[in-house]
């Protein structure tokens, strides 16, 4: 793998990481909202 491919792979991985972070945060915030609605 040359430098160009390594850089591209690294950046694609960073974008995937952000995608999965978003899923996690949406689930976390969503769970907080559901819990709040149930409590109130």
């Amino acid at each position: 793998m040359n430098d160009y491919e390594r850089l591209l792979r690294q950046d694609s991985r960073n974008e995937s990481r952000i995608f999965w972070c978003e899923i996690g945060i949406v689930l976390f915030v969503g769970a907080l909202v559901v819990a709040y609605v149930m409590i109130t």
Binding site: N2, Y4, L7, L8, Q10, D11, S12, N14, E15, S16, R17, I18, F19, W20, C21, E22, I23, I25, V26, F28, V29, L32, V33, Y36, T40
Partner: protein, 497 residues
């Protein structure tokens, strides 16, 4: 009959106030929706079309009295990882009166054949004119295949240019912009607020715009164009507005080429270190955006004229930033008006709107930390305090609804509770006004020991809203279109330096 009329009038006013409340939520909803799109950049991005492409690139640096920062910028550019001889630096010296010519003489000798000093004997016309002087000379020669428009203080990381040029292998791409990060060292509360703002306004928002198919603005600090694109948009930068970078972005897309944000290509810049300097810079940006709104008046919300710039979602996003204070003011007036007309409904609307604002704040703040963890490590506190600690308190009031159990509902007699309620309901407008007062205090020279705690209490977000308000007022009053340069002192550092 008369009471029927009065009731009808009250109903109409109530509906009108509810409409204002909804209007007030537009910026929050637009920014939330934009953030939701960010993750999709992991799936819909341009990487599949990238190739190992290294065209000959001419960097154009406009410089007016930049002796303090120019040497470091040129050194950082000469140290980039790019094929030897495939990049040149053209510094356009806008009749500087400091030591810029001496610095350039030294750098031209140090990097012969790579660094060029273009001197304008009559300057002071602004960045766009200075850039055009350099672009005209570059386009006269056939050497450059791409042109990088940037600021004199910007530092490039070694692989930033490679990360940008790989997109130009796709002939549909006209321009690529980088992620401009705040790099002042040592930092201050204000510089960390700006650093966090740039995660949301660049790293997040521009990823979402990539997914949507086009950008609102390619950052003027690092704007890479293909030669063909520059020629297609007239071979020059627009000089009629204060937002030449945004104008160029619009023109590129209207000419049929795509523009991209490359989030992993990072450059470092020095941003204003006082609220007064920030106000000056951002009023210029805000006025520029308003001028663009007016210059492209026949495009907005008309997808049949241009499927990106005329798109409904793009228009809503654009105006939720350009006209943010108007939306915020509408929201505050709506809630206060409802309180006077129908108190229980006002309290319900308050709980819903501020509750939704809290959800949006929580999601965007946590996600911003995840998008740029390195920056979040430095500016996590500023991220949390972005809307202001008092605004977070108002969000808590909306969530905990303490007023539900109180008997301070609107009565015939005004009380302190009414006054408190009105302050809470009109908080958006009040915090914006307070941010303006903080700006005036900063301008009057108060100590940062007073200014900084006030900024944390009232928030950086309200300050941006106040600045947008200032831009609208300046534009309406048709104040001088002066190009106020942000003073740079050379304190920007790249990590590891």
């Amino acid at each position: 009959m008369e009471s029927d009329n009065e009731r009808a009038m009250a109903d109409a006013l109530t509906i009108f106030c509810l409409g204002l409340v909804l209007l007030g939520m537009v910026p929050t909803a637009a920014s939330f929706a934009q953030f939701v799109l960010v993750g999709a950049h992991g799936i819909w991005n341009h990487y599949a079309r990238c190739r190992d492409h290294t065209p000959r690139v001419a960097f154009v640096l406009p410089a007016w009295n930049e002796a303090d920062v120019l040497g470091a910028s040129i050194d950082s550019l000469m140290a980039i990882d790019y094929p030897a001889g495939a990049w040149r630096i053209y510094v356009v010296d806008d009749a500087s009166t400091d030591h810029t010519p001496e610095v350039m003489q030294e750098k031209v000798a140090q990097y012969p054949g790579s660094v060029f000093h273009l001197r304008r004997e009559k300057g002071g016309q602004g960045k766009a004119h200075t850039l055009n002087h350099g672009i005209a000379i570059i386009l006269e020669e056939s050497w450059a295949e791409a042109v990088m428009i940037m600021d004199a203080d910007v530092l490039f990381e070694p692989v930033t240019l490679r990360r940008m040029t790989r997109h130009l292998a796709d002939p549909r791409i006209g321009g690529v912009t980088a992620y401009v990060k705040e790099g002042s060292y040592p930092g201050s509360l204000l510089s960390r607020f700006i650093a966090f703002e740039y995660i949301t306004a660049q790293a997040a928002a521009r990823r979402a715009q990539n997914v949507m198919g086009g950008l609102a603005c390619m950052a003027g600090g690092a704007q890479l164009h293909t030669r063909e694109n520059l020629i297609a948009i007239g071979g020059a930068i627009d000089t009629s507005t204060l937002a030449e970078d945004t104008f160029t972005t619009f023109k590129t897309q209207l000419a049929g080429r795509r523009v991209l944000f490359e989030p992993n290509a990072i450059v470092w810049a020095e941003e204003p270190d006082s609220i007064t300097a920030l106000w000056k810079q951002r009023v210029r940006w805000g006025r520029g955006n308003l001028q663009i709104s007016s210059a492209f008046l026949d495009l907005w919300f008309r997808p049949w004229k241009n499927n990106l710039l005329g798109d409904l979602a793009f228009g809503v996003l654009w105006f939720s930033v350009a006209a943010m204070p108007l939306f915020m003011l509408a929201g505050s007036i709506g809630l206060v008006g409802l309180y006077l007309l129908w108190t229980p409904l006002a309290l319900k609307a308050f709980a819903w709107t501020w509750g939704a604002t809290f959800v949006s704040y929580l999601f965007q703040t946590l996600f911003s930390f995840a998008i740029d963890p390195a920056e979040a490590k430095r500016s996590w506190f500023e991220g949390l305090a972005f809307p202001g600690l008092l605004s977070i308190g108002v969000m808590m009031l909306a969530l905990l609804k303490p007023f539900d159990s109180l008997t301070w509902a609107h009565t015939d007699y005004w009380s302190w509770a009414d006054l408190l309620a009105l302050i809470v309901l009109g908080w958006t407008a009040i915090s914006t006004a307070a941010a303006w007062v903080i700006y005036r205090l900063d301008k009057a020279g108060v100590s940062k020991w007073l200014r900084d705690p006030l900024l944390v209490l009232f928030g950086y977000g309200p300050l941006l809203c106040a600045i947008a308000c200032g831009a609208i007022v300046a534009e309406l009053r048709r104040s001088d279109l002066k190009w106020d340069k942000t003073v740079k002192s050379g304190k920007v550092r790249m990590p590891g330096q």
